[in-house]
Amino acid sequence: MAHADEAAVFNKDEAKVDWHDKALWFVRQKRDKSAHNVKGWENLRDLASAIKANVLSNLDGYLLQFEENAQKNGVTVHWAADAEEHNKIVHSILAKHDVKKVVKSKSMLTEECHLNPYLESHDIEVIDTDLGERIVQLAQEPPSHIVLPAIHKRKEEVDVLFQEHLGTKPCNGDPQYLTSEARKHLRDKFLKADAAITGVNFAVADTGGFVVCTNEGNADMGAHLAKVHIACMGMEKLIPQEKHLGVFLRLLARSATGQPITTYSSHFNKPEPGKEMHIVIVDNGRTEQLSREDFRASLHCIRCGACMNTCPIYRRSGGHSYKATIPGPIGSILSPGIDLKKHSSLPFASTLCGSCSDVCPVKINIHEQLYKWRQVIVKDVPQPVVKKTVLKIAGSVLANSKMYSFVGKSSRFMLKHAPRFLIYSKLNAWGKARDLPEVKNENFDEWYKKRKKNE
């Protein structure tokens, strides 16, 4: 199904859409407030963007440097060309230690690779430990947002879900009670886990270390209690030097939620004596994206989710409507590179208003890339006949000023005089759930000419 059709499903519950829209806009406002508090915010964005561009242009060198330093620290480094190889590597590490229970903190990469079902098929229990991720895991759904995985769920739904799976008492969705019950439930999982899997927010080439950011402390609870820690990272997560963390950590949480920094920013360098630390570096289509000049800057992304919170389409269509691991504007420029046909409707799920590019902490030109993907898609993917025909007609009208003027006049006449059932018929998508603007008698051209005459 195309994005618009999926969005229509989400839009059936109008009250929920309104709530979703407002909740995310509130996060966007918190981001603004936080960003405006920082002197030199725009300089920080410029720096971050330039550092990421430098990383991509020397990625092979930085990868080698990172590997060498991580190995010196006693960390085992693995390389995976695709999702399948990634999953096999993770499983082989777990199998070697006879691991049966794994706790996992947030990692969009392991979502992308569908690691959970793979490990479960090998009789390994995988528990997502971020509260939002645990909620969607229990609901057997994918996350709908990369920072707020359960933003599409109302608290009453969480209440019911926890009653069923955690045996909680009915509480009208009291977040305090539900969170405290989740804490107890997951603490038990942390204590019993044989291995912990985490994502990587930043990997530092010149130290071989990596940083994981959470608010809940779940990555640390997992990694410090289990005997084995596996950190999975997309290859674009590298930064050259540790001091560059100063730039990125200042931007990340402020852009994501408006916090000045996440509660925990954990710097892992060496495994504890007697324990193992592994890093899996994953390509899975990233080198291909690197080859595309128009789209490679999408690899700057630090997964803050700011573009989602600000996007008028995302806020009103929900993350699941994108049918992609990464939803929203950034997902819509990443996903076509992975499967053009499957994700061909995503670059059209945008008004091209550019708000995503304005809030992006690493200055990805998201809306320009959306426009560029459209141009690729109309050439490579067959478009619906209706859309093609309508656009052809629109093209000929716009190319001919007399025709344009005639069509404008007749549309205005129709809008004013035609009966309501005709204007708001099913054929007019613009009349769905909104009133069309009031019609004036003249258009700009006529108004301007009249004004000139009167001068």
Binding site: L47, L191, N215, M235, T263
Partner: protein, 193 residues
């Protein structure tokens, strides 16, 4: 292993080399009261700050704040409240029911209310996360304006494990309602001396 093929593909597909920019700190310098800003930000992220004239007054304050705490790990010689001693070989799972941990912070960041602690400050990596409540001690002279200065200050450390902690553990994953106390410490108190 796909190491060689990945590296080869990167080499082939990467753009022409672009320069690594220098961080010009003059963009970010500000004349502000570091202690006040730090305290404001710490409050904003859900922590509480207590200024002490003398470190000797700390234990009395702790007893007032956490009267019920009985299982206490103190990693500082300035507090005598510790009831459980730990060393490198302590099994972290055994710290599951710790009420309170007291740790000396190496430095603090005014701009975000964060405190840097490294493994050598708390011996057992799980401790600051698994404890029910957390106390960090920071000296006024160790409060820095922002992260750029801090990374310079910690650049010579022995790198094993270290963490910036900004407030107590929290989540807003249920309808964006902020709940303090997710998986890590339920509260954070910072003594500034």
């Amino acid at each position: 292993m796909s190491r060689e093929s990945i590296l080869k593909a990167v080499k082939k597909n990467k753009p022409e080399s672009l320069p690594l920019p220098e961080i010009d700190l003059s963009f970010f310098e500000e004349e502000i009261n570091l202690v006040e800003t730090f305290i404001d930000n710490l409050k904003f992220v859900g922590g509480q700050a207590i200024q002490l004239n003398a470190i000797e007054a700390m234990d009395a304050e702790i007893k007032k704040l956490y009267p019920k705490a009985s299982k206490i790990v103190s990693c500082v010689k300035e507090s005598t409240l510790g009831t459980i001693s730990i060393n490198k070989d302590t099994e972290p799972h055994g710290l599951e029911d710790i009420d309170l941990a007291i740790i000396k912070g190496e430095l603090a960041v005014a701009e975000n209310g964060a405190i840097w602690i490294a493994e050598s400050d708390f011996t057992i990596r799980a401790l600051p996360f698994i404890t029910n409540d957390l106390i960090l001690i920071v000296e006024k002279k160790d409060i820095y304006l922002h992260l750029h200065h801090v990374y310079e200050a910690i650049s010579k450390r022995e790198r094993t494990f270290g963490v910036f902690i900004s407030g107590p553990s929290k989540t807003a994953d249920i309808e964006q309602c902020l709940v303090v106390g997710a998986h890590g410490a339920m509260s954070l108190t910072v003594f500034i001396v």
